[in-house]
């Protein structure tokens, strides 16, 4: 009898164990779709519509059972993620979530890089790069390291400067302090104006302002007015050919091509010119030595150097000499030509100039 009771107990215990193991498995027709980064699970199985129609506690119980099954599946997935104990051995178990995969719309559009300012364009053209300045400067008078500008700067407070030398060619009666103050005000004003102009240019570039209105608005700048004046001139019956010009306005040759960039010579034109052109072309092609366009070659070389230097200096600090130093030290290239980033002069005929 005792044996029977023990057997019954063991059987009951085993059933309990099996129950526990079964308890975390859930049967579903269609697998759920998981997005663990968002702690999201989507169940595509159609819910039992008939059962859920009747209101009351039965519906709640059904919804709860459904929720329990789905949550069990989601939690099983989450517990399968790689986990570790945060903060040592006794800390809480922390799982690493993957990136969320469900695509949700952004809050704001992606930031656009702002267009370069006038100075930045010029600097890029010339190859000027920023010199990294130290934040502290040695002040000889105070014999310590002082800020470059700001509170207690090296060189003392400029507003308390008690001496202003009259420069060599200046009027002796002029008030130097007033002149310094006025020049500072002018500099600040010019700086502010340029900053606003750069902002306006960036704003206009970003928002793609439509074609300029043909009447003056008072808010247009030089380039826009020039463009508008040209449009107004050309919109006559003879396409602006007989319009009077202002005394200093340059005469613009009429672009008969109508905006086309490439123009070809007429087929039946000057036979002698065509012959000479073809012979020159053949000569250039047949010559052993390559025809060199100095300006173009120099530009190409400079650009290559710039690219190499940028790639090399990506992680490291820039060398103090910079681009200028290296350029000046190189023999054989005159200063004029190394700065030549302008359009190549028309030295060669059309055939030779087009080749690289």
């Amino acid at each position: 009898m005792a044996a029977v009771r023990v057997e019954a107990m063991l059987a009951a215990a085993e059933e309990q164990e099996a129950e526990k193991r079964r308890s975390i498995t859930v049967e579903k027709e269609l697998e759920l779709e998981y997005d663990l980064g968002n702690l999201l699970a989507v169940d595509r199985n159609p819910p039992p519509a008939a059962a859920l129609r009747g209101a009351g506690p039965r519906r709640e119980a059904l919804l709860r059972a459904l929720a329990r099954d789905n949550t069990q599946l989601l939690v099983s997935r989450l517990w399968e993620l790689p986990a570790e104990r945060a903060g040592g051995a006794g800390g809480p178990l922390v799982a690493q979530l993957p990136e969320p995969t469900f695509r949700l719309p952004r809050e704001k559009p992606a930031p656009k890089p702002r267009p370069p300012t006038r100075w930045e364009q010029f600097a890029r053209l010339k190859g000027i790069r920023r010199k990294k300045k130290t934040s502290l400067v040695w002040d000889e008078q105070a014999k310590e390291w002082r800020r470059r500008w700001g509170y207690r700067r090296a060189g003392g407070d400029p507003s308390r400067a008690w001496l202003a030398e009259v420069p060599a060619g200046a009027d002796p009666e002029e008030d130097q302090f007033a002149r310094l103050r006025r020049e500072k005000r002018e500099r600040v004003a010019r700086n502010e104006l340029n900053r606003l102009r750069n902002l306006a240019r960036a704003h206009r570039a970003g928002s793609a302002v439509p074609a300029a209105p043909l009447h003056p608005t008072g808010h247009q700048d030089r380039d826009e007015l020039r463009r508008v004046a040209r449009v107004a001139r050309v919109s006559t019956a003879s396409l602006g050919r007989f319009q009077p010009r202002l005394p200093k306005e340059p005469a613009e040759p009429p672009s008969r091509s109508g905006g086309k960039k490439r123009r070809f010579q007429p087929l039946l034109g000057n036979l002698a010119a065509e012959r000479s052109r073809q012979l020159e072309l053949l000569r250039d092609m047949g010559s052993k030595k390559p025809v060199l366009d100095i300006t173009r070659a120099v530009n190409k070389q400079l650009r290559q150097e710039e690219a190499e230097a940028a790639a090399a200096n990506k992680g490291k600090k820039q060398s103090k000499r910079g681009k200028r130093g290296r350029r000046q030290q190189r023999p054989g290239r005159s200063g004029k030509k190394s700065g030549a980033r302008r359009q190549p002069q028309q030295q060669k005929p059309a055939g030779g100039g087009r080749r690289k």
């Binding site: 975390i24 929720a67 069990q72 099983s76 695509r103 719309p105 809050e107």
Partner: protein, 304 residues
Amino acid sequence: LICCYRKPKTKRAKRFLEKREPKLNENTKNAMLIKGGNANLTVTEVLKDIYAVKKPFAVLYKRKNITRPFEDQTSLEFFSKKSDCSLFLFGSHNKKRPNNLIIGRMFDYHVLDMIELGVEKFVALKDIKNSKCPEGTKPMLIFAGDVFDVNEEYRRLKSLLIDFFRGPTVPNIRLAGLEYVLHFTAVDGKIYMRSYKVLLKKSGCKIPRIELEEMGPSLDLVMRRTHLASDDLYKLSLKQPKGLKPKKKKNISHDALGTTYGRIHMQKQDLSKLQTRKMKGLKKRPAEKSAQDDGATPKKSKSA
């Protein structure tokens, strides 16, 4: 624009503006909960409960605002700009549309999607007497029902609800802290939203058994009007900038079973100079080597 030419004068103002400007990795979306001109008790309670769920990332406006979102969206856009919220929930009540909730989101401070839902039954947080989970818990979201994939409006609603209740995106999560689950079932033209507190019970193995306890607000919703964004605007809002894509490591590939493969590119090898096993017996003696160079036949010598 004023924001462009007027620079901030203090560091605090600068930080404030930097928080609001468009970024590569965006902030968590904030929600604004607004009452309409004729909001009744039910709708107010709903707004209060949703505010409790979304606590640090929501703003609840106390006063009533007399606007109609479906007709005029400027007021909503103004609020969104002022409080930097891109999600909103607007509650109102009238005879034609009782217990009305308009849930919506913004893109670039303009309304992207708006869906009007009617609340048919509501059980508040305070009506269910049991312990609640702490404020700011990231909820688990479960959507049940094939309607959520078939119907376009339901698909947008699903996306909206995920956006609304998602919370901040975190890289790690404490497994014992998975306490809150929001379950949405779409059946018969109705959407049942239920919130449960998750109890992790011991099971035989590592993964715990889940028991649920009804906790939070439970809503029975029915879809009314919708104002969905056009396809191209929606696509534009989904566009992610290039900087977010993870950089692909070259010459590394993974197969379906989880094995990682690497590729090594070698130069062409000179097979005559290949280092193979040394067989001492076959090694050429210096005398033989010179003899071979002269052109004589090689003699094979056996090791002593």
